[in-house]
C-alpha cells in the first residue's frame, strides 16, 4: 500500500529540482495535499494562498502567462466546483499551462460526509474545452501522471483519493503510461471492465472472482478520462461481449458517460453498465462501508458480469 498524495508531493519535489519554472499554490491544505513537501524544499516557489481558492486559480493562470508551470492544489470539491468559473475563463479558455491537482476526490473521503465527497469533478472538468482530465489509480501511476502534467503543455486536471491504495505498477511499467492511453491490466475474452482511480483495485478483485467462475474479464485502467482512449474502448467492444465501467464518481458525466458516448456513436450494440455513485449525494462513513452501500465494489461488478454472460 502507498498513498497517492505522498506520491504527488514527492513527485513535485523531484520535478521541482529538474524544472525551475514549476511553482506550487495551495489553499491552506498543504499538509493534506502534500504540497508541503515542495514548500519545505522550495519555499520561494511555493505560494500559500489561504482559504481563497478562486484567487488561487486565477493567480496560477497569471503565473502561467509569465512562463511558470503552476500546480494548484486543494481538495477536489474546492478545486473544481467552487472555482469552475475561474478554471473556465483563466485556465481553459485562456489555454493556460495550469495544472490543477486535487486530492480527496470521491466518496472515500469518508467521514467528512457528502459536503466533502466530490463526485462531479470529472464531469465538470471534462465539459471544459481543451481540458485534460486524469484520475490515476495508485501511487506509482500518480507519480508518472504528475511528471506528464509538468511536461505536457496545456490545461490539465488530475484527482486522487484520500486513502492509501495498493501499488499496481512497477517502476519499469511507468514509461508506457501516457496521457490518453488506457492500460490493459488483464486480458479477457468475455467482458471488459473499464475503471479509473481507486476503482481499478476493485475491478482487479472482481476479475479474480470471475475467473474462478470461468468468466474471463479484461481490466483496463483508464487513468485519462479526457482525451478518452477511444481505440481501446472500440477494441474491447469488438472483442468482448459486455462492458462495465466503474469510477468513484457520479455515473453522470465521468468515465462511464465518456465510454457510453463512444459506444453509442459507433453503434457497438454491446451490453453495457455504468457503475459509480447514482444520482445522489452520499453520507459519512468508513470508505469500505460507503463503497458497499453505494454499489462501488467488486461484488457489484461480479453480479453484473454474471448477468451479462447469462443473458442472451
Amino acid at each position: 500500500m502507498a498513498n497517492p498524495r505522498d506520491a504527488y508531493g514527492e513527485a513535485l519535489v523531484e520535478l521541482g529540482g529538474k524544472y525551475p519554472t514549476i511553482v506550487v499554490l495551495d489553499a491552506d491544505l498543504s499538509k493534506s495535499t502534500k504540497t508541503i513537501l515542495f514548500a519545505k524544499k522550495y519555499p520561494e516557489r511555493f505560494f500559500e494562498m489561504g482559504i481563497a481558492e478562486a484567487n488561487m486559480i486565477s493567480t496560477a493562470a497569471g503565473l502561467a502567462s509569465c512562463g511558470k508551470i503552476p500546480f494548484a492544489s486543494t481538495f477536489a470539491v474546492f478545486a473544481t466546483g467552487r472555482v469552475y468559473d475561474q478554471i473556465r475563463m483563466d485556465v481553459a479558455y485562456s489555454e493556460a499551462n495550469v495544472k490543477i491537482f486535487a486530492t480527496h476526490g470521491g466518496i472515500s473521503v469518508g467521514k467528512d460526509g457528502a459536503s466533502h465527497q466530490m463526485i462531479e469533478d470529472l464531469a465538470l472538468m471534462r465539459a471544459l474545452p481543451y481540458m485534460t482530465v486524469c484520475a490515476p489509480s495508485d501511487a506509482a501511476q500518480t507519480r508518472r501522471i504528475v511528471e506528464l502534467m509538468a511536461t505536457t503543455e496545456g490545461p490539465m486536471y488530475a484527482r486522487v483519493g484520500r486513502a492509501n491504495a495498493p501499488v499496481l505498477y512497477k517502476k519499469e511499467d511507468l514509461e508506457e503510461i501516457l496521457i490518453g492511453k488506457g492500460v490493459m491490466l488483464k486480458d479477457g475474452s468475455d467482458i471488459t471492465i473499464f475503471a479509473c482511480g481507486t476503482m481499478v483495485d476493485q475491478a482487479l478483485d472482481a476479475q479474480e472472482q470471475l475467473l474462478k467462475e470461468g468468466i474471463a474479464a479484461g481490466v483496463v485502467d483508464m487513468h485519462t478520462i479526457k482525451p478518452l482512449d477511444e481505440h481501446m474502448v472500440l477494441h474491447c467492444a469488438r472483442h468482448t461481449k459486455g462492458i462495465i465501467t466503474i469510477e468513484e464518481h457520479s455515473i453522470i458525466g465521468g468515465l462511464g458517460s465518456a465510454v457510453a458516448e463512444v459506444l453509442a456513436e459507433h453503434r457497438c450494440g454491446v451490453k453495457f453498465k455504468r457503475l459509480g455513485v447514482q444520482d445522489m449525494f452520499c453520507e459519512s462513513g468508513e470508505p469500505e462501508e460507503l463503497f458497499e452501500k453505494y454499489g462501488l465494489s467488486a461484488a457489484v461488478i461480479v453480479d453484473i458480469a454474471q448477468k451479462f454472460i447469462k443473458s442472451k
Binding site: V23, E44, R45, F47, M49, G50, A52, A54, N55, I57, S58, T59, A60, A61, G62, L63, A64, S65, C66, G67, K68, P70, D85, Q86, R88, M89, D90, Y93, S94, E95
Partner: protein, 260 residues
C-alpha cells in the same frame, strides 16, 4: 465601433478612456512589435466589457490593423465581445467574467518578483466589479505578498447595471476599504491624463505595498446624453444617437487640437 457592432458597452468603455490612453501612450514600457517581450509592463483589463477602449488603444499602438476595429463582435473576425489573450495581440488576459483580473495580475506580479524582473503590472477594475468576493481575496493576497510591482486602477463611475453603486451594494468608503487591506491608495480625476500620469509615476516609488489609483470618472464621458446614464451600460447608440455622439466628439477633438 459599438454602433457598427450593434451591441457592446459604451458607458464603461468611455469612462476608462483616459486611463488606458495614459498607460499605453505615456507610461508603460511595451513593444507592439514584440507583444510577448518578457520584460514588458502588462495591463490587465479586469472589467472586460470595456474591451472597445482596450482594442482601440492596442490598434493605435500598432498591435494590429486599425481596420479590425470596424469588425468588433463579428463572426470570423479577431475582435471578440470581450478580451481574449490567445488570439488578440497585446491582450494579456481573457476577461469578461468579473472579478478575476486582479488575481491574474497578482500572478504576473509574483512571477516578476520570482524572476527579479523590473516590469510593472497594471490592472483596471470596475467599481461595480468590486462587489465580487474574489476581488477582496486578491486584495488581501497582493498586500500579503507585498506586490509593489502591481498597481490597480479603479474606474469609480458610481454606476452599474441595476443602478447607482451605492444603491445596488454599498461600496463606500472605497478609499478606506483598500487602505485597510494594506494598499497604498491615491485618488485622481480619471479624465485628467496629466493627473493620471502623475499618480502612475508616484506609485512607482512605493515599496512593499500594492497601489490602487481611484479614478473618479463619469460613465459615458464625452457624449452628453450617455454621461451618467445607466441606459448606456450595455446598449449601443442607435443611428440618431450615433450621429449626435460623433458630432459631439468631433467638436471636442477640434477644441482639443486648437489648444496645441
Amino acid at each position: 465601433m459599438l454602433y457598427r457592432a450593434k451591441s457592446g458597452h459604451p458607458g464603461g468603455s468611455l469612462s476608462a478612456v483616459e486611463a488606458i490612453v495614459a498607460l499605453y501612450f505615456h507610461h508603460m514600457k511595451h513593444n507592439p512589435k514584440n507583444p510577448k517581450d518578457p520584460n514588458r509592463d502588462r495591463f490587465v483589463l479586469s472589467k472586460g466589457h470595456a474591451a472597445p477602449t482596450l482594442y482601440a488603444a492596442l490598434a493605435e499602438c500598432g498591435y494590429f490593423n486599425v481596420n479590425e476595429l470596424l469588425h468588433l463582435r463579428e463572426i470570423n473576425r479577431m475582435l471578440q465581445g470581450h478580451p481574449v489573450c490567445t488570439s488578440i495581440p497585446g491582450v494579456e488576459a481573457s476577461t469578461g467574467s468579473l472579478g478575476h483580473g486582479l488575481s491574474f495580475a497578482n500572478g504576473i506580479a509574483l512571477a516578476g518578483k520570482l524572476d527579479k524582473k523590473n516590469y510593472h503590472v497594471y490592472v483596471m477594475v470596475g467599481d461595480g466589479e468590486t462587489d465580487e468576493g474574489q476581488i477582496w481575496e486578491a486584495a488581501a493576497s497582493a498586500s500579503h505578498y507585498k506586490l509593489d510591482n502591481l498597481t490597480g486602477l479603479l474606474d469609480r463611475n458610481f454606476l452599474q447595471i441595476d443602478g447607482k453603486t451605492e444603491d445596488v451594494l454599498r461600496l463606500e468608503s472605497v478609499r478606506e476599504r483598500w487602505t485597510s487591506f494594506g494598499w497604498n491608495v491615491l485618488e485622481v480625476d480619471g479624465h485628467n491624463i496629466a493627473e493620471i500620469i502623475d499618480a502612475l509615476l508616484a506609485v512607482n516609488d512605493e515599496k512593499n505595498k500594492p497601489s490602487m489609483i481611484i479614478l473618479n470618472t463619469v460613465k459615458g464621458k464625452g457624449v452628453s446624453f450617455m454621461e451618467n446614464n445607466i441606459d448606456f451600460h450595455g446598449v449601443p447608440p442607435n443611428e440618431m444617437e450615433y450621429k449626435l455622439a460623433m458630432k459631439e466628439l468631433d467638436t471636442a477633438e477640434r477644441a482639443l487640437e486648437a489648444t496645441f
